[in-house]
Amino acid sequence: MQAVVLHVQGSALVLPATTGNTVSATEASKPGPIVPEVKELVWGGGAFVVFALLMRFVLFPRVKRGMDARYESIRGAHENADQLRLAARAEVAEYDAQIATIRADAARVVDAARQTVERERQARLAEVNARLNEQRAAALAEAEAARAAAQGEVREAVSDVAGRAGELATGHRPDPQVVERVVDEVMAR
């Protein structure tokens, strides 16, 4: 390679030439830079042809087969997952249906139980009311009887007292029937 020359204000300043594996200036003059060199054509073309054939028959099919197998397995796993998801959804729907049935059954049983309890409550209530009425009637009758008895005793005592008082006042015993009638009239007021 040629030296790099830097001219500053008329004085040329020569830098060290960049040396390398490039051809000398004499060699470099021919052929032109856009003329293809046979050796480069042969090595470049040969390398590409070998690479393309290897790629076509060995390298690409191996990698591609692996890719296809993995994609297939992923696709299979996806389909499997979809099926599982569908099955799970069906199971959930079935479970929901069963829950609904059980809830309806439970509601029916609860309703029936509630109605039974209500019926029993009403029957018990009626029974108790009847017993209470009976007891109330008996008590009333008893009370009435006691009152009548007491009234009879009071009338008898009052009649006796009134008869004695009449006897003491008049000297003879008044007619008991009259005394009893007078006492009855007074007590009835």
Partner: protein, 254 residues
Amino acid sequence: MLGFEFPQINSLLRWKDFFTSFNKIGLIAVLAAVIGSVVFLLAGRKDPQVAPTGVRNLAETSIEFIENGIVMETMGKDGLGWTPFLLSIFIFVYLCNVPGIIPILYMPATARIAIPMFLSLLVWVIYNGVGIKHQGVGGYLKSTLFPPGVPKALYILVTPIEFISNIIVRPFSLTVRLFANMLAGHILLVTFALLSQAMFQATTHKIALVPMGILPFFMLLFITAFEVLVAFLQAYIFTILTAVYIGGAAHPEH
């Protein structure tokens, strides 16, 4: 007055032989084929059922890139059979481009015309062959030279244009696009590297010139980063155009 004498272009591009007829360009081409093969060999050895990592991930990503980003976009499902060939082109061109920024190598093999020309001629043979195979000689020439929907009178003008465009210019443009881009990048890198060196090492009384060497050095860094993108982009463009040409020859109605 400030002058900078640039070395002859050939001294930047032509390399001495390591041994008979084998120079740096041949070495890079062979390395590209070997590295590409080794990556896919190692990838093929790994268990495909586990999530891909390392070289396997690299190989699978490149296959999917070619399949989804190039073949499906340009040729459709029918073109998937061309994936290995397009993958070979992409990897080979990329690995020939990228040494332009790799220290010690510092030379894209595609900055020499031989490899782009070989690949373009191969693509030319293939897409013409595919066209003839799918449509027959007459059908292919008819669909290529007499595009449907054009008024017959215009064929006098259109047919020579189509012939030059499809049969002659395509391989030429494919070659020159790759070669010229990589050559331009290489020359830019050399220019800014030499300029940086010249300014850093200048034996001059103008001391201020020395720190100014940082400017071309920054430009050198920028161009280097840019060349990373260019290496990928040129490989992609070459591959997608190949796919378009083959797809067009196989299915002219598209």
